[in-house]
Amino acid sequence: MASSSTSVVVSNKEKENKNTKKVTLKSSDGESFEVDESVAMESQTIKHIIEDGCANNEIPLPNVTSGILSRVIEYCKKHKEAAGESEPSVTSYTSNSTTNPLTEWDTEFVKVDQNTLFDLILAANYLDIKGLLDLTCKTVADMMKGKTPQEIRETFHIKNDYTPEEEAEVRKENQWAFE
């Protein structure tokens, strides 16, 4: 499965000309995905498996379904390409922002239903992909911002299991937040 010559992907144009090492990832429902090794290594979990020399055949990912895995691979591919093309950006403390050319793409990427979003968080956590985890967590945090607690409960179907006395206690504990 591994080709005899290995080389790091430098840019899109050279991709067709060189042989790149590939790995196969297997989802929990048995579907296999062949990806470039460099793309797969966006995941620290997979990176460790490959580096430990345990990736002979396929890498099984029992916690990730095929639907989610294909999305994760899409994310990794896109970000790997972008990282290869641009220089690292210098951030100044006062400007307080990092230039991320993929902001628009990322925003579209997380426009999914809640179930998928949460499954993506779980997958990013399991596969240890920091960028994806930060992106999905930020999306959920943004969904929660600006809503009252009752609205948050309704959006995410959280059951309020406080007794009225407990609830009053919690409000008192954080009284400045509820004013």
Binding site: I121, L133, P149, K159, R171, F178
Partner: protein
């Protein structure tokens, strides 16, 4: 005879339906005398309603949460990450969501931003001080994470326990290895308040090696304290001490390798002697105001060498001072210049053209006029 669950259900429903039918009969009999007729439902419709009610009840009773609670899939650490991405007030409100969420936000390592300006506008001064203290102390007391990345507090106005409060916060933060600390004490104009003074006796009780950003505005800092900070924070990148009442001398002994951004200013007519930062190889941004800025520009031939590496410079000066210069020190790397001019009466900005000559690769020039 053993009944299956569904048969049992069905029987319940039938009994319920019969009961409803009987009730409906009674109802109809009772209202027969009235002008309108009450329509009774067919027993099977009653059965349908009853069945769905029973199903709903069973589904809710099966688990403690609604079966759709999205967060039940995620481990606590991820919930903590999500909460730490929210603004402080809303993050604290999450404690009311359910038992699981009650203390999650106290584990956040991220940044705590206490913006007191909104509070100050709403309340009178005494109530404000009380609230502000309660707020910050409440959040800090419940904090359980092992580290804190950042704490910003602005519009913090003093009351009699001010010094004690600030020292408590600082010692708490330094023990938790805070990386970025910003404190702005200005609250009300013309208010007779005592300013907090940061001394080196206080600082030397704590390890400062985690500090990368320190911003103090309207906080008095002694020279020894500043020197202590500069010598004991190997990773300090940003140092900003603004609106000091006085600064006599600042001369650190060793090189300041990490420092990239420095801002030192005094209130306008305060006496200032010399600031000799020495070897600052990575300084890219500097901000000076008041008399010190004036002295700096005046001694153009004896300018500190580190200033020649600057990329961004911010100056606050009066128009009279600027217009006294015909030549400015040459800064070959300067790209951004922010000039804030305190003017009473200015006819033209032509005097600034000599600035443009002194900064050959200037890319962005911002002028703010304050009357």
């Amino acid at each position: 005879m053993k009944k299956s669950y569904f048969q049992f259900q069905a029987q319940q429903t039938q009994e319920f339906a019969r009961h409803r039918e009987a009730e409906a009969e009674k109802e109809t009999t009772r209202v027969r005398g009235r002008l309108f007729e009450r329509v009774t439902l067919h027993p099977l419709d009653y059965a349908a309603v009853a069945m769905s009610l029973l199903n709903l009840k069973n589904r809710c009773d099966k688990t403690n949460n609604f079966p759709d609670d999205q967060f039940s899939k995620l481990p606590d650490e991820i919930l903590v990450s999500i909460v730490s991405l929210m603004p402080l007030k809303e993050a604290s409100q999450t404690s009311i969501l359910s038992h699981r969420w009650r203390y999650l936000r106290t584990f956040t390592n991220g940044s705590l931003d206490f913006d007191c300006s909104a509070l100050l506008n709403l309340l009178g001064i005494e109530k404000y001080c009380e609230k502000r203290k309660g707020w910050v102390n409440g959040v800090l007391r419940l904090h359980q994470g092992s580290t804190i990345d950042e704490l910003r507090a602005c519009s913090v106005v003093s009351d009699k326990n001010f010094t004690l409060d600030i020292e408590n916060w600082l010692s708490f933060l330094l023990r938790k290895k805070v990386k970025r600390f910003a404190l702005e004490c200005k609250g009300l104009r013309n208010c007779d308040y005592q300013q907090y003074t940061l001394t080196d006796q206080f600082l030397c009780n704590y390890g400062l090696d985690s500090l990368t950003v320190l911003c103090l505005t309207y906080v008095q800092v002694t020279e020894k304290a500043l020197l202590y900070v500069l010598s004991n924070c190997p990773f300090l990148e940003v140092l900003s001490v603004e609106c000091l009442d006085s600064l006599q001398n600042l001369k650190p002994s060793g090189p300041l390798v990490g420092l990239r951004n420095v801002a030192i200013s005094t209130s306008y007519y305060a006496h200032v002697a010399r600031i000799l930062l020495g070897n600052v190889p990575n300084l890219v941004e500097a901000s000076y105001a008041g008399l010190y800025a004036f002295f700096l520009l005046r001694e153009r031939d004896q300018m500190p060498s580190y200033l020649s590496l600057l990329e961004t410079l911010s100056l606050v000066l009066t128009w009279q001072r600027i217009s006294q210069f015909s030549r400015f020190p040459i800064l070959r790397n300067l790209r951004h210049l922010n000039l804030t001019l305190l003017v009473m009466d200015v006819k033209s900005l032509l005097g600034c053209t000599s600035l443009l000559v002194a900064f050959p690769i200037l890319h962005r020039f911002v002028v703010d006029l304050m009357g």
